[in-house]
């Protein structure tokens, strides 16, 4: 018998020792103050933890989990492109997902942009996998959406949390993990309209550096004024991984900054 047999004491408290071991430990515990105190403490702890209620998964978390599968189809295709090394030819084609929100099936809130499973207004969906890879190849961020949402600072906070969740998913799925990598692979000059105008307007107001990369732009309204909502990912330096997601709200007419928020990724 070792001095204080932790392994056996765990099983002792759980009642899973075989009879001969249990007899041995009974005797030990009787004669050892330390162990007998510990057994009492361990029992108390076990009861306390067993009594913890199982919490329900918060609705916001369930929603985020449901969206994971929707994002997957986009990234599977993009990775297939990367694997086949079609970079040179594909670089000339930029994939942008244009989504017009409105009464749409499966949408529970306005303006959930980001890589959707189906897209409206983008280049026609091809039938073969290889063609799809070509069209989706090239640079797919920032994603762009137009919605009829009218944000205020509070609903903006909600939207920011959703975008943060999408950004985390995208990063886990292969989004370029630093500013330097992003700008090396992106030629934002080739973004098609209206995304290009939107990005240019936002850039004028926000003036991002190489540490800050555009993730999603939404053309909507802010307190009744037509505005772009632009989410950028930001790092401490061009080579570091992003630490924050920054939301800029920019007036569409004169490209002035209306609102700004930032939170850790």
């Amino acid at each position: 018998m070792t001095e204080h047999p932790d392994e056996l004491l765990a099983a002792y408290v759980d009642g899973t020792l075989d009879p001969s071991e249990r007899t041995e430990i009974d005797a030990h515990v009787d004669s050892c103050d330390v162990c007998s105190e510990e057994v009492a403490l361990a029992r108390r702890a076990r009861e306390a933890v067993e009594a913890l209620t199982e919490l329900p998964v918060p609705a916001g978390v369930e929603w985020r989990l449901r969206k994971i599968t929707a994002t997957r189809s986009f990234w599977t295709t993009r990775r297939a492109w990367v694997a086949t090394g079609a970079a040179a030819a594909a670089a000339a084609i930029v994939g942008v997902f244009l989504v017009i929100a409105g009464p749409q099936e499966g949408r529970d809130e306005a303006g959930s942009g980001g890589p959707p499973a189906t897209d409206v207004g983008a280049p026609a969906a091809p039938s073969s996998g290889a063609e799809e890879a070509t069209i989706l190849a090239g640079f797919a961020y920032p994603t762009y959406a137009e919605t009829d949402a009218n944000y205020n600072p509070s609903s903006l906070g909600v939207r920011a949390r959703d975008l943060r969740a999408e950004a985390r998913s995208a990063l886990a799925a292969g989004f370029p993990e630093s500013g330097r990598r992003f700008y090396r692979s992106a030629d934002l000059e080739t973004l098609p309209e209206p995304a290009k105008t939107a990005l240019s307007c936002v850039t004028e107001a926000a003036q991002p550096e190489e540490t800050t990369v555009p993730f999603h732009i939404e053309a909507a309204s802010f307190e009744d004024e037509p505005a772009y909502l632009a989410a950028f990912l930001q790092a401490g330096s061009a080579d570091q991984s992003y630490e924050h997601i920054v939301l800029y709200v920019v007036a569409r007419e004169e490209c002035g900054l209306l609102h700004f928020s930032s939170q850790p990724l």
Partner: protein, 188 residues
Amino acid sequence: MKTDEELIRGFLGGDRQAFGELVERHQRRVYNLSYRMLGRPEDAADATQDVFVACLRKLSGFRGTSSFPTWLHRVTMNVCYDILRKRSREQPAEDALPEPAGADHADAAAVGVDVQRALLQIPEEFRAVVLMHDALGIPYEEIAEALGAPIGTVKSRLHRGRVALARALGREHGGGSDGSKRADDRAP
């Protein structure tokens, strides 16, 4: 009802719905384990999402040598450790405990908060085993497999973890730990 393995095969064969079912089946356990390990709802939300995103990416490599829940527990613990490491880098000295419970310790909700606070005071490797065994009812062997640790280590951490937790709980309740030997402390 389909088994986890059937759902996984279905998903790998192109049935995206199958993954959704897998998530729904396991999300509560993953969320609860994460929340009890991390102590903050926002971190638990991030952890749960990270777990299932990792799951999605790695599912094609899942060989079925351990059961899916064991594999999922391993992923969950790795994600939680990552978040805890990140947290300790960002706030080295900060006490990450939730708000103190009210004065009325008879309230069941307050007691739960006390236990949660005490859990956050014990070392993470102890916390992991105590939660997996006592909160989630996972047997020693599966915990050992999930954590990649010998079963003896698991049992040892379980015992030391419980003792540390009881002492932390004693401190939470405002007194020293109660070391008195009770007459009924023998095994049944």
